[in-house]
Subunit: 414 residues, 2 copies
């Protein structure tokens, strides 16, 4: 089947799914979970094909580890689906409601988008996650995973589709697109009218391509050049803990800090401490001239460093002369993901919160908290860095649209 | 200045505007209103240039009437700005908030988009409306009106910019783009990163072009092929009043009905009545074979009729065999704007409301109620027919994004 045929089938399936009750959707999610565990052997066997191909292609062991599935990892995917079943259903929520002066009853109600397209890279567990989140939010899912995980993804989707059908919902609410050709991505991006929203998850190149070429509305995710700004009025101990946690707790993720800005008045006290800690932790420090003066191990930062999302054990560090300079720097180089200030000054934090435009502005805490799980959403389909529709971590409500229901008794407009 | 230079200036102005209080913005709106009235003579004189050009170009008097400004029409624009000043400010609203298990305080707060681009046709009053709505919601506005109204729009924007500056806000929050060339539309559509959202208002061709070519996120507005479905269990009197009001109260607008679907069981009772009323009101009825049997004045409907937004005194009429057939017809030909059912059956209305996917689903009332003013929003920038971000009439909150503010006391992630 072509992508357009798959999308058309998804569109029809989505009509039934939109009418499914929470009980019906939760029963499907629980059956999907049970079947993944039952069929873990087949899934791991299909994964072995992907692993073997990756080895033949000379893929690094780090990436192979991300790709690899074990019975335990399959069980974790199943647990994710069970957690989704336990979450409230966003569909049918009344977002606002009132009775108008003429007696018309107005309600704005959450409804599914219809058909959601996902383009993603890497780990096959995203396949089960995305399928589950879409199903719970009443959306049919068109999943375009990476070529390197195609055999694994095909096995997972086959199990999930059978479970959905056995639970009495249309199997075509979950479909895997051909990952062996780039054409499937192109067709998906042009399927306006059949696909309601497209969510790319992956590297900056993938996201840029989708944003520029898609006629289907896109929710942009992920690129995070996140800053920690240590204000003149910072508590040094908190500043050190927050910087280290933001940079080193996990450095390959979009909410890790990539840049540290230090107010000049606190530089003498703070920089020696933080540079030593960063360097001890194996982080390469790319610093400006003032930073370099504090430690010989600092590498000279280039202009490119300030705009780089390293996703590695690297950090750029600059001294700034004021809070305004810090905000100007963030406006110039930030990607609108997560920006943190460390300060005990209420005035400084108020100005930073008001003046910095990002999905998340964090006061005296690690950038790593920008996450659907940490925010208590229970499920996350990605972190939006755009301003339209959803901004920041996206949970189930972010995968819905709304409709107005207007109820009268023969009302006409005068 | 090029569009990109104007957009860059808007971006800088938007930073100041985002920090403006409600009091500052309302003072600017009131001054804008006063100045429009004071300078009405200049505006009407500028308008005379557009009118004269339109006459030279052989423009119809109906369109010239839409274009024409009088002191009274300028006063109405000023009143619109005063009404905006009286509306609550959406900026700073806390959309959701909680304290997480670890003590982090999470708040999701409404913030402006930043820079909003508007592409619109026809009447110059839209210029003042759009400028006011954007200012109240904290957004800088890049306004690309029609070439036919360029002289009028230039005069209006000149007055508004001076008023904004005199009120202490940056004049560049309101800018008119060159309407004498199509290049300004093209540049605006490619100004991703400088312009946060683009709202096209106008004909289907304009909207399609923007949706297909823009890399700036778009909010699609307007096309409405709206249906009235008269169910087997309809009250005939309500059905007649609602059909007539939906079609004839004003037929050039997107929420006017373009198509009538009548359940076969009520066709004998209802069609003679409604056809006579429609024909008496000067409406051309494009009917299917069954409809044509009821009245010789019915014109045979072609396949194209079912998908046409007439925006004129025309209506397509079909007999359907069931509620499901009505919903299938609406799915096939509807544009997701407004769909109405007339029925006294709770079961039928429940099924219709659940099964029809549109910005507004209306029960026993006219399609003409889908409107920001009728919904009590106080201001409207357009009616979205897309599912992302905003659906249905868009008021001030729909012109905002959100950001998460996360406040801790040295919190790090474990």
């Amino acid at each position: 089947m072509s992508v357009l045929e798959q999308a058309a089938a998804a569109r029809i399936a989505a009509i039934d799914l939109a009418g499914a009750t929470r009980a019906e959707k939760d029963a499907a999610l629980l059956l999907m979970a049970d079947r993944l565990v039952e069929r873990a052997g087949d899934i791991v066997a299909a994964n072995a094909v992907d692993i073997s191909t990756a080895r033949e292609n000379g893929t690094s062991e780090a990436i192979i580890d991300r790709l690899a599935l074990s019975p335990e990892r399959v069980a974790a995917m199943a647990d994710g689906l069970r957690q989704l079943a336990a979450l409230p259903d966003p569909i049918g929520d009344v977002v606002r409601g009132s009775t108008l002066a003429n007696g018309l009853e107005l309600r704005q109600v959450r409804v599914p988008f219809g058909v959601v397209g996902m383009i993603y890279e890497g780990r096959p567990n995203v396949t089960a996650d995305a399928a589950g989140i879409c199903l719970k939010s009443g959306n049919a899912a068109l999943l375009r995973g990476s070529r390197s995980a195609f055999s694994s993804n095909a096995a997972i989707v086959s199990v999930l589709r059978k479970a959905v059908a056995d639970a009495g919902l249309p199997a075509d609410t979950i479909q895997l697109l051909d990952a062996t050709t780039r054409d499937s991505v192109k067709e998906l991006m042009r399927a306006r009218g059949l696909v309601d929203v497209l969510i790319p998850r992956g590297g900056a190149d993938l996201i840029r391509t989708v944003v520029e070429q898609s006629t289907v509305p896109v929710i942009e995710t992920g690129v995070g050049n996140c800053h920690v700004y240590v204000d003149a009025a910072a508590d040094l101990e908190k500043a050190l803990a927050i910087t280290m946690n933001s940079k080193t707790q996990r450095n390959s993720v979009c909410n890790a800090a990539e840049s540290l800005l230090v107010h000049t008045e606190i530089a003498d006290a703070f920089l020696p401490l933080v540079l030593e800690s960063l360097l001890d932790a194996g982080v390469t420090v790319h610093g400006d001239a003032r930073v370099a003066g504090f430690n010989d191990a600092v590498v000279a930062a280039t202009e490119a460093d300030w705009g780089t999302e390293y996703l590695s054990a690297d950090i750029s560090v600059a001294v700034v002369d004021s809070l305004d300079d810090a905000m100007d720097h963030i406006r110039l180089y930030g990607t609108g993901h997560t920006e943190a200030i460390v300060s005990e000054s209420l005035g400084a934090t108020r100005r930073f919160v008001a003046g910095v435009d990002a999905a998340a502005v964090v006061v005296n805490a690690s950038t790593r908290f920008t996450d659907g799980g940490e925010f208590g959403f229970g499920a996350e389909i990605g972190i939006s860095t755009q301003k339209l529709h959803a901004r920041g971590p996206m949970g189930l409500p972010e995968l819905t649209s709304t409709k107005y229901v207007v109820t009268g008794n023969g009302h006409t407009r005068g």
